[in-house]
């Protein structure tokens, strides 16, 4: 973040020039921000409020009948106070959905990070064929998640190529059910997700590694440090902000994952892949229990807000230390 607010020229404080300049900047700011803020106010805000309404007023689709005009939503709802909230907080399935989501996201984040980092470490110095590998390694991110879901199913099919390869390796007929067995379904989806998004972490870590100054590493080398020492003591500490970024972005995005869990398995088999998005979807859209869905949504919103605010705090702290390390030098003295 740039230090000065008026980076290009700095007229004297309090002068007329400064005031008109500040005015100009304010106008510019609002001109650019208006569409975004307008959309937030006219779309997100009403949605947020509607959600709040429904969390206290139970909507029954049976009362609403066939013709669902906007007002009919209100006519068909009645006050239930905090009942739905109590239901949600004591809902076992909801609790399990949260657990599944957290496990899923943690596993995916760790997997993407370790793979992405390892690949970046092997790739960031030039070597022959590097370009070709790079092209292949970013491909998974360019595939559409829903496509990955369905292609994954084809590969993981009972008579599919993965079982074929395993059969050849173990010399037995392997007919594993990767997707349709409750115990492994979520893990399988997680692996698909890792395949899909490792490139993102990979690219971020590559950028980070490539930006590391070379000379401190050489200085460490000539002072007797071996590769491991240099990695842990010189490279990783300077990479902390980038690592954190890769972890946080991936974690948050994977909490919202939908195409693979719903698009492919509809939360099944049983409830094995019923993550939070799927559970909310089932309640709000399949059972059309908008009110319960609203309550669930709010609770998740609070949870995510807490996670997100911690993430912001962590990232800002890292950014501060990064800025401090590269501050412009004080005058000679």
């Amino acid at each position: 973040m740039t230090a000065e607010a008026t980076a290009n020229t700095t007229p004297a404080p309090g002068s007329r020039r400064e005031r008109t300049r500040a005015q100009g900047i304010r106008r510019f700011k609002w001109a650019v921000l208006t569409p975004f803020i307008a959309l937030m106010l006219f779309i997100l805000m009403p949605a947020f409020l509607l959600q709040g309404y429904f969390s206290f007023f139970s909507f029954s689709i049976f009362d609403a009948g066939d013709n669902l005009g906007f007002s009919s939503y209100f006519e068909a709802s009645e006050w239930v106070g905090f009942d739905l909230w109590a239901d949600a907080l004591s809902d076992d399935k909801f609790g399990w959905a949260i657990v599944r989501s957290l496990l899923f996201s943690t596993g995916v984040t760790v997997g993407c990070f370790i793979l992405g980092f390892a690949l970046a470490l092997l790739m960031y110095r030039p070597f022959r064929g590097q370009g070709v590998y790079y092209i292949f390694f970013i491909l998974p991110m360019l595939t559409v998640p829903i496509v990955i879901a369905y292609t994954g199913e084809m590969i993981l099919y009972q008579n599919g190529p993965l079982n074929d390869i395993l059969s050849i390796l173990t010399q037995t007929r392997v007919e594993a059910q990767f997707l349709y067995k409750q115990e492994v379904a979520l893990t399988t989806i997680a692996l698909l997700e890792i395949w899909n998004w490792t490139p993102f972490s990979f690219i971020i870590m590559m950028a980070g590694l490539a930006s590391l100054p070379k000379e401190p590493q050489e200085a460490a080398q000539i002072l007797g440090a071996n590769k491991w020492r240099i990695f842990w003591e010189v490279q990783v500490p300077l990479l902390r902000p980038v690592i954190l970024l890769a972890l946080i972005l991936r974690f948050l995005e994977s909490m919202a994952e939908f195409p693979k869990t719903w698009g492919l398995l509809q939360g099944g088999p049983g409830s094995a892949t019923e993550t939070v998005p799927v559970y909310i979807f089932i309640n709000a859209w399949q059972f059309f229990d908008i009110s319960y869905g609203a309550v669930l949504s709010y609770l998740i919103l609070f949870m995510m807000a807490a996670i997100v605010m911690s993430a912001i705090w962590l990232l800002r702290r890292e950014k501060k230390s990064l800025d401090a390390m590269y501050e412009s030098k004080p005058q000679e003295g």
Binding site: P46, L139, K319
Partner: protein, 299 residues
């Protein structure tokens, strides 16, 4: 460590090639399988042992999916005709996807880059706000999608291109701003100061001096966001009914049908969905690293 320097160098190189090639195979295989399956006749879809490269390769799947050719000649013929109907309009879906993606991405990059300029030069958004903006994207859309669809139906925005475009704009603007900012930060301020002395207004300076200098970065941002909107599934699914079906939603209709899986057809459609993105991604690959630094990388 009894090896000499060059021995160690060679050992590491061998190790590197081994690991990277292994991962390359893992990466390439699903894509290979998708393409290969798209050329398989239906009896090979579920065959055991699985067919890797079909000797009876056919473009039948593509014809059925993309050219609306009806099916004859196999046992499952009658059921397959039902598929041809449930998967109604791939070209329309393609058109919708393209239209929505291009419009929303253009708007996003336009506003995002100008906003990024403001943040970079004037600090119009504090660092805290910038992070909040990024985190806005990180909220799972599922938590607001139900009321949004109700609100949309009241506004008549349900099943409309405008509706989806607006939401895509909201959800991708954070990425656009962050990515553009990292490119704009690298442009030396002297250029703008020179323009200012020569009498250029702010918008003119942005438009004629700064943005052209980060053109390649903006292209990368544009294409990355295009990828995001093109492959978006949840919002497209829940905010569209019949009119505005996008490709991912179209693909998912196979899943919902009752006759079981039609791998070949799905693959043929998948290839169509994925191919443009792969082309786009390969074009911008050199810029991805620079765009993804999000202020956490010092150059």
């Amino acid at each position: 460590m009894a090896m000499t320097k060059s021995q160690r160098r060679h050992a590491f190189s061998a190790f590197r090639y081994l690991v990277l090639t292994f991962w390359l195979l893992i990466v390439a295989f699903p894509i290979f399988w998708m393409v290969s399956t798209s050329f398989k006749p239906d009896r090979e879809w579920f065959a055991w042992p699985p067919v890797y490269i079909s000797e009876n390769a056919t473009i039948q799947n593509y014809l059925v999916v993309w050219a609306d050719v009806s099916e004859y000649g196999t046992d499952a013929e009658g059921e397959l005709e039902t598929y041809t109907q449930s998967l109604q309009r791939p070209w329309e879906a393609l058109g919708n996807s393209a239209l929505i993606s291009v419009i929303s991405t253009t708007l996003t990059v336009l506003f995002g880059s100008v906003l990024a300029y403001g943040v970079s030069r004037y600090g119009i958004l504090s660092e805290g706000r910038m992070f909040q903006l990024l985190m806005l994207r990180m909220v799972p859309p599922i938590v607001l999608i139900a009321p949004i669809s109700i609100w949309y139906s009241a506004l008549g925005l349900l099943d409309s291109i405008t509706g989806l475009v607006m939401l895509y704009f909201l959800t991708t603007l954070p990425y656009a701003v962050w990515m553009s900012k990292s490119f704009i930060d690298e442009v030396p301020r002297e250029m703008e100061q020179a323009a200012e002395i020569l009498g250029a207004s702010r918008m003119r300076t942005i438009w004629e001096v700064v943005l052209p200098l980060v053109r390649s970065g903006l292209v990368a941002t544009f294409l990355f966001i295009l990828i995001l909107t093109w492959s978006e599934y949840l919002l497209a699914l829940l905010l569209s009914k019949t009119e505005v079906v996008t490709l991912p939603v179209e693909l998912s209709k196979y899943q919902g049908s009752t006759e079981g899986r039609v791998y070949g057809r799905q693959a043929a459609l998948s290839v169509g969905i994925t191919l443009p993105l792969i082309v786009v991604g390969l074009i911008i690959r050199k810029h991805l690293a620079r765009g993804f630094s999000f202020g956490m990388v010092r150059r």
